[in-house]
């Protein structure tokens, strides 16, 4: 049973990943990305990472993919992607480099070089039982400093995103002259 689920998900992951890089329409790429993310979430459940799987679905498959689709529709970029490469050898070189990378990483994955110490932060617990408590205990004790730093990182990212997305390079000159209501609406923000 586990093998069947693994192979199904593996096929879905590979098909989705290839679809992301081969689809001409960015919307199709986003939907293939969704297929890959959900399949990875299924494998997370298989690996006794239930909370991580739930967060994968909520954060990745919902929020991030929706954000991608939203930006695609906002920009309307699906009509003009250039598929002619500026340099003719770039694509073959990329594929050769990718094949070399695949061989290297598969060789690393196949060797039992990871002899790490077992369970320094807490055991996973019995299979299929859920380990949210263990995970939360580890997150709020051993990793609490990193947890606080992620809060700082998120605040910085949100502020940076807002600062980049609002129109910063506005000309101050002609805008208030158009009408009185316009100047009122613009007042406190600028």
């Amino acid at each position: 049973m586990e093998a069947v689920i693994f192979y199904l998900c593996a096929v879905a992951i590979i098909v989705g990943a290839l679809g992301v890089i081969l689809a001409h329409n960015p919307v199709h790429s986003a939907l293939f990305l969704l297929l890959t993310l959900v399949s990875v979430a299924v494998l997370f459940v298989q690996l006794d990472a239930q909370l991580v799987a739930a967060i994968q679905v909520v954060v990745y498959a919902s929020a991030i993919v929706v954000l991608f689709v939203f930006v695609i529709t906002l920009l309307g970029v699906d009509q003009h992607e250039v598929f002619e490469e500026p340099s003719a050898f770039q694509r073959p070189v990329a594929i050769i480099a990718g094949a070399l990378l695949l061989v290297q990483v598969v060789v690393i994955a196949g060797h039992h070089w990871a002899t790490g110490a077992h369970a320094t932060r807490g055991h996973l617990g019995p299979a299929r039982q859920g380990n949210v408590e263990t995970l939360a205990k580890s997150l709020f004790t051993d990793f609490v400093w990193a947890f606080e730093m992620t809060a700082v990182l998120l605040v910085i990212a949100v502020v940076g995103g807002v600062a980049l997305a609002r129109r910063s390079g506005q000309r101050p000159g002609p805008r208030p002259a158009t009408g009185t209501g316009d100047a009122d609406a613009q007042g406190p923000g600028s």
């Binding site: 993310l37 991580v52 930006v71 003009h80 598969v106 932060r121 807490g122 997150l139 990793f143 995103g161």
Partner: protein, 105 residues
């Protein structure tokens, strides 16, 4: 290897390696910056899969904790990156990576 009844952690690691490689090749091949961002998401997911399968193999919860931090970094990266893409598009009406070479030496 195909058809074996038991799934060892090596299988998951190999799958994550394939996923990472596809993401890397896509990053090199595609020119649309949005698709390049999706390829980065693929590579981050491959790393997450590796972390979780090591957490299972070594029976250690910290592999799953690290995945949280990877998710936070991915969310921050997408927020800032898409804001940059929107800003570039507003100025140049295009999001092709080769056209954004004003800072090229």
């Amino acid at each position: 290897m195909i058809g074996a009844a038991t799934v060892t952690p090596t299988y998951y690691l190999t799958l994550a390696a394939a996923l990472f490689t596809i993401g890397a090749v896509g990053l090199l091949v595609r020119r649309n910056t949005l698709v390049m961002f999706m390829c980065i998401e693929l590579m981050l997911n491959a790393a997450n899969l590796t972390f979780v399968s090591f957490a299972k193999a070594l029976d250690d919860i910290s592999g799953q904790v690290i995945v949280f931090f990877t998710l936070v970094v991915a969310a921050a990266e997408v927020a800032v990156g898409l804001a940059i893409i929107v800003a570039i598009f507003r100025r140049r009406q295009d999001v092709t990576a080769d056209d954004v070479n004003a800072l090229e030496g």
